[in-house]
Symmetry: C2
Subunit: 352 residues, 2 copies
Amino acid sequence: MADNVTVQSVEKNMKGKATSFDIAHYAGVSQSTVSRALRNSPLVNEETRRRVHEIAKKLNYKVDKNASNLRTQQSSTLALLLFEDPTEDESQINPFFLSMLGSITRACAKEGYDLLVSFQSTSSDWHADYEDSHRADGLILLGYGDYIDYQSKLQTLLDNHTKFVCWGASVDDRPDLTVSCDNYGGGALAAKHLIEMVRTDCAFIGDASDHSPEFFARFKGFRDTLKQKAIEVSDRKIANAISTEDSGYHATRSLIANNVTFNALFAASDLIAIGAIKALQEAGIRVPHDVHVVGFDNIAAAGYVSPSLTTVQQNTTLAGQMLVDNLLRLIRGEQVADTLLPPKLIIRQSSR
Amino acid sequence: MADNVTVQSVEKNMKGKATSFDIAHYAGVSQSTVSRALRNSPLVNEETRRRVHEIAKKLNYKVDKNASNLRTQQSSTLALLLFEDPTEDESQINPFFLSMLGSITRACAKEGYDLLVSFQSTSSDWHADYEDSHRADGLILLGYGDYIDYQSKLQTLLDNHTKFVCWGASVDDRPDLTVSCDNYGGGALAAKHLIEMVRTDCAFIGDASDHSPEFFARFKGFRDTLKQKAIEVSDRKIANAISTEDSGYHATRSLIANNVTFNALFAASDLIAIGAIKALQEAGIRVPHDVHVVGFDNIAAAGYVSPSLTTVQQNTTLAGQMLVDNLLRLIRGEQVADTLLPPKLIIRQSSR
DNA sequence: CGACATTATGACACCGGTGTCAGACTGTAT
DNA sequence: ATACAGTCTGACACCGGTGTCATAATGTCG
């Protein structure tokens, strides 16, 4: 027995990590049995299993994920791909996405999955990379839609039968699975609130084209709700901005410079709103006295700015959970539908 | 030729992903050659390589990371383990760590490494899990030191020859590799600033015990610098807090309730400072008029609170880069030393 | 005692690459 | 023609697990 040479791993070489063969050797059973015992297969004898577990612990044994994944053809790993507005400052990440990242990480952990995080510039050929290479069982795509040339890549993913879910607006002609906040409803909440506050001479800063589906949906919900009260949002009072403080600041300044007047402002994101407030205050326009401001996202900073920012909250905890849940369902081949999460209005000082 | 059965993969089954055998089949070469060609080995003929690459692209081939990693015994992946103050609200993550997470992610991408992100409760037996299982080549440990029972686990990592770097205070009797902000120097910066502002009746909120090495170092730098001017920080003016807004709020309230007076306050973190400002303002104490406040970290919110918060900035971009760089050096077996990053004082309204 | 089910185990192929080694082929010097 | 170096390629073992199949050992029943 003792002169039996183990096949894959020599007896007591502590240089490398312990393998299941080492355990097999010490336990006096075959490697197959070790593998089964460690996964608590009912096929192995109670006593054998106990012994194997004990030795495994003693040797500090950990299953080699690469070997295991290779054999089983799955990885217990999800990949989170973050797409950022390319104009965003490199060192700063949109706090809303960071918040999502946090909740997704937690949701993954809860489900026993690892999470690979990766930033993607929208131009690179990220598509399919993670899943085809078996690094992840599925993908979570997170970003304010920079949808140029994005669609074709989603199509590639679909063609490759890659499992993935997207955060963001569900666009009709796209057959991907999405989880998103009810952006339209959120815009409506903002409008209703301003109507209640009798502030109906509204400006909008964001993106009122369908270039960015999410911002557009927020705008539509906002506009349509006002329209129900026969209030129009004049084109003059709409300024384009991407989701940065700077962009919101400059968009607002240009409105002011053009002598556009308004007594309420709806921003497509909190960062834009924060930039807008700064521009307003610099111009001597008081918030909320002269202009009520409502943002979107409820990032942490929204509660800290002065005046604190009324905003439409996206439930990131739930969102992260749903993204992960839906993706796992998709991976398991279960039926899944797009998910729409209800937004919630958080009223703070900027609108009262 | 055509009736030759390929060993691992059948000719045209599009159900699974393409393997190197598929490419070999189409290219009319052996699988070995394909493997070499794809990795641009100089051993393969120029023309052969070109053809292989072309077919690979056509088949949408991606190297199976599990197989590759298994063979080469490494993973091109780093793992980031986030340790949080256990009392922290589950849904919110300390913004400072989020910021670090962002910069680490970017640094990894730059070096061609994937990043696994994982939250750890300090009690679980995370140690060695990722690296022993070959999921990651190295670990980055990130957290305000919750150092109970932490040391023994670091020792386990060392015993297992796991490669890892820690963010945070380098403690003398710990042989691990750390990257940290010069917390002592940062505390000194805060003190010097307050001395300049002639606000030397200082309170400190944080942790003035060595339970949390980082907070303690900040406190020491602060205290020692004041002491050079023969100014003592009275024990009565020190309150304990962990790094949350709530904790800072309550610690400050208790100071006030005990009739402790001061005209300056140094908080061990921005979150604490923000909570402190809130408590001060509620008590009718004006910032900065009655009390100057200085925080630590320069989280995004620091610029948004009112008054905006003077703080000691930690350069998270550089920190992330250094953590990754040092870890990779460690993995490559190169010589690495602890790294201390210079802090920078950001003066804002809360102290002028 | 033979037929058969049940339980526990070992042998072995396999996942899809990588690295080593042997050898075929070409060209050039002897 | 022979020797030999240089270039390119294929065969094959290997990484460390997992799953299938065969089989030994034990129990049960007619």
